[in-house]
Each structure stands twice: as structure tokens, then as C-alpha cells.
């Protein structure tokens, strides 16, 4: 499992907080509030595009520090198209909302509802053919959040377990 702490994001948010506190302590100047407003607008933009499949590119951009994610891979010997169908079937059974599904791209995007720990995550299921084997990449992203409070890790763990259990027929 690849799940790293977003140190840059945490640092930027802390600096932003210090700037706001400084601005509130003295005379409130527009200069201090510019980075805070910029980040807020960027977060609104991230939320607005969340249902779009291209949002993944924005979330995974190396300069985007306002996002936390967790990635996990399942290795199988099942044909890619069959695995894609299986994933869609299992998602439909679990009553999660499918935002986007493409058999051609072998990509499924689902959204989780808002909770106390997050504003809702986007989960990407990608079926990748690797020679004779097929990999299922599950990526959980919490847009606009530097820390997901373990929600991303929990999502990927639960989904991996669910998919693996579903191979008991």
C-alpha cells in the first residue's frame, strides 16, 4: 500500500494559519489574505470538478499539495474485461454511487458520502493488463484535504477485502 503523509500540504496549511492569525492580530491587510483566498478558491475548484474523470489528473499533479490519497493494487489472473465487469457488479451490490464508468478505459470512479472525517472521497478503480496477469488499482482521494484522518487507507483496505472476498463464489 502506498500512502504517504502530505508533509508539504500540512506545512502550507500551518503557514497559512499563522499568516491569518498574524493578519487578525494586527491590521487586517489584503496581502496576508491572498494565499488563504487562493487556497479556498482552489479547493472549491477541486470539489466542483470531482465528478469529472479528468479531475484525477488534477488530484495526482505533483504540485497539488491540497489532496491526500492512498493507493493499493490487487494482482489477479482474470481477464481484464471480466475483472472490470466484476468490479462494477460488486460496486453496484455495495450501493456506492458510480460517478463514471468506462469499459473502454477500464476505469470506474465512485464517490463516497460526506462524513465527520472528510468531505467525501473519490475512489478510482483501474484495471490494468500486465502480460498474462491483470492488476486492479484502487486509489482513494480526498480532494481539498491535506489529511484524510485514515479515511483513504480505510477505503482502500475495505474495498480490497471486499473484492478479494467476492472471488469466493
Amino acid at each position: 500500500m502506498k500512502s504517504k503523509i502530505n508533509y508539504i500540504g500540512i506545512a502550507v496549511v500551518l503557514i497559512g494559519l499563522i499568516l491569518v492569525l498574524k493578519a487578525l492580530g494586527g491590521a487586517i491587510s489584503l496581502y496576508w489574505l491572498i494565499p488563504v483566498f487562493s487556497l479556498s478558491i482552489f479547493n472549491i475548484y477541486q470539489s466542483a470538478i470531482s465528478d469529472d474523470k479528468y479531475a484525477r489528473k488534477v488530484y495526482n499533479h505533483r504540485l497539488n499539495f491540497m489532496v491526500s490519497k492512498s493507493v493499493e493494487t490487487v494482482h489477479t489472473e482474470i481477464e481484464p474485461d471480466l475483472l472490470f465487469d466484476k468490479v462494477v457488479e460488486e460496486i453496484r451490490k455495495s450501493k456506492l454511487r458510480i460517478s463514471y464508468a468506462s469499459r473502454k478505459e477500464r476505469l470506474v470512479v465512485i464517490s463516497t458520502p460526506m462524513s465527520l472525517r472528510s468531505w467525501g472521497e473519490r475512489i478510482y478503480f483501474e484495471v490494468v493488463e500486465k502480460g498474462k496477469n491483470t492488476d486492479l488499482i484502487i486509489e482513494s482521494i480526498a480532494p481539498g484535504q491535506v489529511i484524510s484522518y485514515g479515511k483513504n487507507k480505510e477505503n482502500t483496505k475495505k474495498l480490497i477485502q471486499h473484492i478479494e472476498d467476492s472471488f469466493t463464489i
Binding site: I78, T168, I169
Partner: protein, 67 residues
């Protein structure tokens, strides 16, 4: 080799299509395909029971062991 799933052989003998078996057993096409290809991790007794009932066969006809 291990456990071999002969579901495709039994289905061919009974001249039954995958979708017909799916209708009869209530098991999805996807799950039957995975089972047929021998890619399933395990099989439940309940699944084996409905398949045997639909195909009028014994579990030994569907599963075999090869060294």
C-alpha cells in the same frame, strides 16, 4: 495442477449456455465465467448445490483433482 473446474465440459454435455445457467441458478454471468475459467478463490457448498441441481450432475463431475 490442483483442482480443475470442469463446468464448461458439463455445460457442453447438457448443451446449456452460460446465461441459461445464470437464470436457473441465480448466479451472475460474471461469477459463472470466473468459476468456469477456474479463477475463483473458493466455492461455497450452496453454489455447488444450485449448479448441480441445474445441471443434474454430481459435484465430482464439476470438480476434479489433478497432480
Amino acid at each position: 495442477m490442483g483442482i480443475i473446474v470442469n463446468l464448461d465440459v458439463v455445460m457442453a454435455q447438457r448443451k446449456m449456455m452460460l446465461k441459461d445457467l445464470s437464470k436457473k441458478t441465480g448466479i451472475s454471468n460474471v461469477n459463472l465465467s470466473i468459476l468456469k475459467q477456474g479463477k475463483a478463490k473458493a466455492i461455497r457448498f450452496s453454489t455447488l448445490e444450485v449448479i448441480c441441481e441445474a445441471l443434474d450432475c454430481q459435484p465430482g463431475d464439476i470438480l476434479s483433482f489433478e497432480k
